[in-house]
Symmetry: C2
Subunit: 361 residues, 2 copies
């Protein structure tokens, strides 16, 4: 097991990365001691890991954990599901001494984390991500929330977990499509922050797709290190943290445009990164050959490099409601070379349209 740390003063927390962590009582029991535990998971992940987790916390000597199952998929990030989770907490008479364990992928983490953020004005929670995407990205940094018909993640809170327990053993049962989607965010971290890591990824794509444990472990650890640095420097996205949204302005438009859940988040981000790289070329901050290299890497992973059948007008409409729009301005994260990103406000809309067209279906 390796342990990183997100440095956020009195909200600092560890990220544990390793195999078989969910069954280790030495990790979970000390956190659960003296608290009630509420495990939020879904019908796919629950049967695989709930027994191990419950056995691991048994030695804390606390009452049996309350289990809340939510539906699988992005549509669970909704008001009705949030209300059902809150209702289950109240029905079990959970007080402020409760610890929520989010056991699952990004959807479970975002929803359960937000439920913890607002239940009785905030109770602590642990992220136990079981997908690659959640392990390398969404479980770290405290962003929680739900979607709205008018836009993704429009309602939420910054609520840092007490700990992240990334059991890479769970990746062995991950569907192939979700594995690839997770690799999209790994690539993103290389693109915006670490050229050397990007080169490593180009060399080890096949190992990752073959689920080589050492390769997956390295990808998770380096992604978490990079993200933890950014979050520690800018917890609430006042500035620098926004570069983590590389590919996301286009990507969120894709997700909303085709209907949440049709494209996986990582798939939409992959195509969004192709568009954002193209925009970087058109604006003049990235050499054409680097954009081609990015497109080639994404294609090798088996991720989409072409968008869905949406008009450029529809993209722009969806992007304008995206929360990265600060007031009237549209902001994009552009690359300034491989491993370096920066925010650009209000690029020429003609260039944005051309970037979308370059990845047309």
């Amino acid at each position: 097991m390796q342990t990183l740390r997100v440095a956020l003063g009195d909200r600092s927390y560890p990220i544990h990365i390793g195999t078989g962590l969910l069954g280790q009582s030495s990790l979970l029991a000390p956190l659960a001691r003296g608290r009630r535990l509420a495990i939020v998971t879904n019908a796919v992940v629950g049967p695989l890991y709930l027994d191990a987790v419950i056995a691991a916390v048994e030695e804390a000597g606390t009452p049996a954990p309350v289990r809340v199952l939510i539906e699988d998929g992005e549509q669970a990030k909704s008001w009705p599901t949030l209300d059902r989770v809150i209702d289950a907490f109240l029905a079990a008479r959970l007080g402020r001494d409760t610890l929520v364990l989010a056991l699952g992928g990004g959807v479970v983490g975002d929803l359960a984390g937000f439920a913890a953020a607002v239940y009785q004005r905030g109770i602590p929670f642990i992220q136990a991500p079981t997908t690659l995407l959640a392990q390398v990205d969404s479980s770290v940094g405290g962003k929680t929330g739900i979607n709205h018909a008018r836009g993704k993640n429009m309602v939420g809170a910054f609520h840092q977990p007490l700990a992240v327990i990334a059991d890479v053993g769970t990746l062995s049962t991950l569907p192939d499509r979700e594995l690839r989607a997770g690799i999209a965010e790994v690539i993103k971290h290389g693109l915006i922050l670490d050229r050397e890591f990007l080169v490593w990824l180009e060399r080890h794509v096949d190992d990752l797709l073959a689920r080589d444990p050492a390769a997956l472990g390295h990808a998770v650890r380096r992604s978490c290190e990079l993200k933890a640095q950014i979050v520690a420097a800018d917890e609430r996205e006042a500035g620098q943290r926004a570069i983590l949204n590389f590919g996301h302005t286009f990507g969120h438009a894709i997700e909303a445009g085709v209907g949440y859940g049709e494209w996986l988040h990582g798939e939409a981000v992959a195509t969004g990164m192709v568009m954002a790289a193209e925009l970087s070329v058109l604006v003049g901050t990235l050499p054409r050959e680097d954009a081609e290299r990015i497109r080639a890497l994404i294609a090798r992973v088996g991720l989409p490099v072409r968008g869905p059948a949406l008009s450029a007008d529809r993209y722009l409409e969806l992007m304008q409601v995206d929360k990265k729009v600060a007031g009237r301005q549209m902001r994009f994260v552009l690359l300034e070379g491989l491993g370096k990103a920066a925010l650009h406000a209000d690029p020429d809309l003609g260039l944005v349209r051309r970037s979308i067209a370059a990845a047309a279906p």
Copy 2:
């Protein structure tokens, strides 16, 4: 105008108290400058003050404020109303540069504050309380939230406002019943923290009921001073702040038991304080004569000193789900004399039942 300060480090903010403040552009315009403004109010308060507020911010030169009207009454503290407010924000394409102005009583402040807390993971807001209860209590301290069928304020956030603008001129149009309900929380501040203020209240009850501006101004200012001290010392209610819940464990049970909105919050708190004073006598921390003095003061204000027709079992059931229940424990705020309060965990349930019976209908 007088200005107090809630000292919370980088979340510190001023409380402005005076007459005619809502129409003063020198207060509102600097806060609105460079931002979009979204005013959340209701159909009772809106027509009275919206024009003045909009005129006052006009000189900030920002786009016309977005107005969101919610229904009047406690039932507006609900998921559906919250969703409507969020939807209105999104329909107006409000970004993170938006400032929410909560213009109204405690319900508007709690709901609009919570909407600001979760909209795009948190945007700033101003409290402009227009009821006595909101001016002396709910607008100060950052507690925001909504109710759940299983309990009051069960979903919410700590989200401190940028400023509180308490225009005591608005109290001239306040219905009599709401004026009395607000005085309940003023009395509470005296009871738990300031014997001298309590004596002042006993002497000036008639002035307050006659809406004497000087008396109201003093009641608001002293209440805000007392509350600001407590909030500064214990923002998230880890300890001391809980004494502000004096009368509220019983009071919340009354509100939930009769159905939200039947009793005003301040009315339920008034009866709850009679019960909590009785419990203090039974536990042995308060002389019987002090409890009688409290009951007499509450009666003079015209507030209920007798509870609704609810069984003691129903009270206990409702109190057990109340969020002041930390896990399995029931905690009550008891008086240790006039002007001094302390938390007591797990008092004898027989005594709790006798306290309820002592204020039976």
